[in-house]
Symmetry: C2
Subunit: 159 residues, 2 copies
Amino acid sequence: MNIGEASRVSGVSAKMIRYYEEIGLIPPAPRRDSGYRDYAEADVHRLRFIRRARDLGFTVDQITELLGLWSDRSRASSKVRSLALSHVDELARKKKEIEAMISLLERLVRSCHGDDRPDCPILDELAADEAEPFGRPATGPQRFGQIGERKGAGRATRP
Amino acid sequence: MNIGEASRVSGVSAKMIRYYEEIGLIPPAPRRDSGYRDYAEADVHRLRFIRRARDLGFTVDQITELLGLWSDRSRASSKVRSLALSHVDELARKKKEIEAMISLLERLVRSCHGDDRPDCPILDELAADEAEPFGRPATGPQRFGQIGERKGAGRATRP
DNA sequence: CCTTGACCTTCCCATGATGGGAACCCTTAT
DNA sequence: ATAAGGGTTCCCATCATGGGAAGGTCAAGG
């Protein structure tokens, strides 16, 4: 079948199918004389696998591993399990970051009357001079962490 | 002060300061004869504002708006508030997506014995043929939604 | 005065997963 | 034969961020 149909039945866009081929996530599809890619059921199967894994938030690298484990009939299920578990950890981390942002923001929003008067605690907090503007209850050394997972994970330029 | 010190005291990397200038989030810094950018306290203040807003997950576009509101002494606080509220909504949406992924994954992990035997329900589910592989309790029309916020928000190529 | 090292400048490239679109080729039905 | 609707490759954009090269500047110490 052509790439369009493979896309329709697998739920992966044609653009993505070509991209997955390019990066080696799937093997190069055989070509017809016309140059068109030709897909079989097994390929669609694999694409569906990929799509479901993507829907679960796995990265392409992780999916590469999962596909390897999938095709290895003698793998230990513990490998798959630990891959899934570490992904859950990662998701839980992101969830916590988001929750921290939400609770901070909700507090700021609650403190803002939100009418047509110009004074606004939200902006005041963002503009505060102090190092710890979000006045948490002084209960210890925990920070909010570098929220939003920007890579450097740290403040400014530290080589 | 030089960009390095501005970076240190604001918590925004020098690279990002230059980038923010380039995209117009901050005005071009005055230059010394040497060509070095020169920052004053007010600039550092603004950079700190930006960093805090980024830490709260606001996009650069939203921060542009926030800075505009910040410098407008006659703005209505309701504007800031609604900006913050819609950002909270967005964060809540992401949080729900992540939660859906986590609960699905946790269920799969629970169903996987995770020893050295090769059979693995996690892979089996990812590879399942059915359209609804994650066998939810048949309680209605709700779907998990297009998790992971890939733009198309939909299945495959539908122009 | 000159060197050294720390700083600054600009410019280009990479990330991850995805879409948009142009220019061009293939197939099939009217 | 022509039009419509595929397909192909190639380039570009996203978003916020960092890496690194090539080269200019500055301050301290010999």
